[in-house]
């Protein structure tokens, strides 16, 4: 489901004017970047781990259909019911059907970006089912009726004061406090009751192992374990690319994930789920469901170049290092996935009609490419999407939606001038003589001169000076 009225330019302008937001993000991103650097201080180890991570993801992608079938086979044998959904509407319907069958009124959720793609909470609410986010960051944004602004730290845009006010306002009988330990304790008490009473637990999946039919989840808080162990029914939702071939593939992926995402060698809990409660066992869900969601991924997969988007392990390091994200924050993107991965994934999922500007919200600085733990060539894919946006014969959803006759003509003219030495010489001669007279109010110059002086054309070009100096031409 695409967001209506998405206007990144407007949203980013608003964000830039918010000093609190800018300060929050700057401080947060700086901390995340420096801590990650400590985790990967040994360049040899980093390159070896990254190569291993990339190879694991590529191998899984190379056998994706077979691995999904094997995953389904093994999960089913283990007692996990597997469902498939082409679109988010179907996925929501599947989740609802399971919940209605068990007469669920209350669900607790661990953090899952796929469920954000599905807008699951809003959907369930319409059906009269209360769905409480149990991850503290997600709980905070849910209380404030916001979307998460980062895929790992959903409430990163808020500072302690803001959260203190929020808790006081939204939690029954809560005292005002800015003490982080007290705020945390408050959330612990509120959510503990929910875990106890929930009919269904919903989670994502960090990695699904085809070899054994195992779902792997990482977390620090314990809400993931609560949500997948206490309620009688557990529903796990995953994007179809999240499968790995063997159990042995899991340690490198999780190591890269936790060290890139939160700069930890490992999270507090690594939870590997292979079956529902077996006879004789005293806890655990009686039913586990795995919903495998497509939502445009199989189409992305078909493209030789763009399929590398699917290597992503959702660590969020790219957005931590993105100078654009740092300045506008996650909400400006108005998408479940912001930052560099969002800028290549969301246009492919939702189309270049509504999302045609996303690939341009980037200076191609390559900071993300430098730190992506599975080697996604993000800048290349960003550029490819720019081409898709203006060429109707492209293959991405709504290719050519941003095509403009004027723009196309400008570039054709540019190519004609720059590909011909004579034409180029004439053009540069003209620019050198009259270019500086161009008024600052001209389109493009206007944007430039909002904070800079006009660029000055030198009177003579390098061609002129080199010729004069007698520098040989061949």
């Amino acid at each position: 489901m695409a967001h209506a009225d998405v206007n990144f330019a407007e949203a980013s302008r608003a964000a830039l004017k918010d000093p609190q937001l800018r300060a929050n993000f700057r401080r947060a991103m700086d901390g995340l970047m420096s801590k990650r650097a400590v985790q990967f201080a040994d360049p040899q180890e980093w390159h070896a781990m990254r190569a291993l991570g990339a190879s694991v993801r590529l191998r899984a992608l190379s056998r994706l259909p077979e691995l999904l079938e094997t995953l389904e086979e093994n999960c089913t044998r283990n007692g996990i019911t597997v469902h498939w959904a082409s679109a988010t509407e179907e996925a929501n319907a599947i989740v609802l059907a399971i919940m209605q069958r068990v007469d669920a009124r209350l669900a607790v959720k661990g953090k899952s970006m796929v469920t954000e793609e599905m807008h699951l909470n809003a959907f369930l609410e319409k059906q009269g089912i209360e769905c409480i986010e149990a991850d503290l960051g997600e709980y905070i944004v849910q209380l404030d009726q916001e979307m998460p602004s980062h895929i790992i730290m959903p409430a990163i845009h808020k500072n302690t004061k803001q959260i203190a006010h929020l808790f006081r306002e939204k939690i029954k009988d809560a005292e005002y406090t800015e003490d982080v330990a007290q705020l945390t304790d408050l959330a612990r008490r509120v959510l503990r009751r929910k875990f106890m009473n929930a009919d269904v637990g919903i989670s994502g999946v960090n990695a699904a192992v085809a070899e054994t039919g195992t779902l792997c989840l990482v977390e620090n808080e314990g809400n993931g374990r609560m949500v997948t162990t206490v309620p009688p029914v557990h529903i796990a939702v995953m994007g179809l690319e999240k499968v790995v071939e063997t159990l042995e593939d899991v340690p490198p992926v999780l190591s890269l994930l936790t060290r890139s995402a939160t700069a930890q060698p490992i999270t507090t809990y690594v939870n590997m789920i292979t079956s529902p409660r077996k006879p004789g066992e005293k806890d655990g869900p009686r039913e586990i469901h795995l919903v495998i969601l497509d939502n445009g991924r199989s189409k992305i997969y078909a493209d030789e170049e763009l399929r590398h988007t699917l290597r992503c392990i959702r660590c969020g390091a790219c957005m931590n290092h993105c100078p654009v994200y740092t300045r506008v924050g996650g909400h400006a993107y108005q998408a479940p996935y912001p930052g560099p991965i969002g800028k290549i994934l969301v246009p492919q999922m939702e189309g270049l009609g509504t999302r045609g500007e996303m690939p341009h919200a980037c200076t191609l600085c390559n900071a993300c490419v430098e730190i992506c733990p599975v080697g996604i060539p993000i800048a290349e894919l960003m550029n490819r999407l720019r081409a898709e946006a203006v060429h109707p014969d492209g293959t991405v959803k709504d290719a050519g939606a941003q095509a403009s006759t004027v723009e196309a003509l400008v570039w054709k003219g540019w190519a004609a001038a720059f590909a011909s030495p004579t034409a180029y010489r004439m053009a540069t001669m003209v620019l050198s003589t009259v270019g500086n007279a161009a008024p600052a109010s001209l389109p493009l110059l206007k944007e430039w001169t909002s904070v800079r002086v006009k660029p000055r054309f030198a009177g003579r070009t390098l061609h002129d000076l080199a010729r004069e100096k007698g520098i040989p031409d061949a």
């Binding site: 929050n24 070896a48 781990m49 190569a51 291993l52 190879s55 590529l58 191998r59 190379s62 259909p65 999904l68 498939w84 082409s86 149990a134 991850d135 503290l136 960051g137 730290m153 959903p154 808020k158 302690t160 959260i163 982080v180 945390t184 304790d185 959330a187 612990r188 959510l191 503990r192 106890m196 054994t212 620090n220 808080e221 314990g222 809400n223 374990r225 609560m226 162990t229 179809l240 159990l247 042995e248 340690p251 490198p252 939160t262 060698p265 999270t267 507090t268 809990y269 939870n271 590997m272 789920i273 292979t274 066992e281 005293k282 806890d283 655990g284 497509d294 199989s298 997969y301 078909a302």
Partner: protein
């Protein structure tokens, strides 16, 4: 109308067969090379886990039940949930005595005493399969005998670790013990008490999981 499963698999197959995905061989040397001397392993486990507020106490095969009782008494725990069906559980039952926290048996379905577990239990005790030096993590394989909520719901989790059950890496423990041959319902790595940094990146301990993780190293 074809179902989602057929459509998805057909689309994936067509996409892959038209353009196979280029792979590179996976070289696990970087993980295999992460090794520590046996003597170093425990020190490293302690250092990494203490850095995230894990508590360590030492004991012997003979005295660990008494050590645990003394610790929990001092901590003010009124109840200790345990798994009577395990070897450790049997020893606790036999040696606990009348002082100290009340032993509560986890010998029936959680559904029969959920409210009590969530509100009336201060501590839970489990065994472990060992610990991992690379990341400072305990390895747990809960099961029918030792239910998994023992290490999650009570506010204090006491974990028994044999001093020589130490591994270098997560990769090593799973390959050496051939986990792929048969995974339990739930396998767990636990690396400290529960925590979060969601409030302005300030670390806070004891979110939803246990507030305290106490590792009893049995020498």
């Amino acid at each position: 109308m074809p179902d989602a499963r057929s459509t998805i698999l057909a689309t994936l197959r067509a996409g892959r067969d038209a353009h196979p995905v280029e792979t590179v061989p996976s070289d696990f040397t970087v993980l295999k090379d992460k090794r520590w001397e046996p003597a170093e392993r425990l020190e490293r486990v302690k250092r990494l886990m203490e850095a995230v507020h894990t508590e360590f106490i030492d004991a012997t095969e003979q005295d660990w039940p008494a050590v645990v009782r003394a610790f929990l008494t001092e901590a003010g725990a009124r109840t200790l949930l345990y798994a009577p069906a395990t070897g450790a559980g049997a020893r606790l039952h036999a040696e606990w005595g009348d002082d100290g926290p009340e032993l509560v048996r986890y010998d029936r379905s959680v559904d029969d005493f959920k409210e009590e577990m969530f509100t009336g239990i201060d501590a839970g005790i489990t065994m472990t399969l060992g610990a991992i030096a690379d990341t400072g993590s305990l390895v747990l394989w809960p099961g029918a005998e030792e239910p998994r909520l023992l290490s999650l719901v009570p506010h204090i989790h006491v974990a028994l670790l044999k001093a020589d059950a130490l591994y270098d890496t997560f990769w090593q423990v799973m390959t050496k013990n051939r986990w792929a041959d048969g995974m339990p319902t739930n396998a767990l790595l636990i690396s400290g008490p529960s925590k979060t940094a969601d409030i302005e990146q300030t670390l806070a301990y004891g979110v939803h999981g246990p507030k305290r993780l106490v590792v009893v190293v049995i020498h």
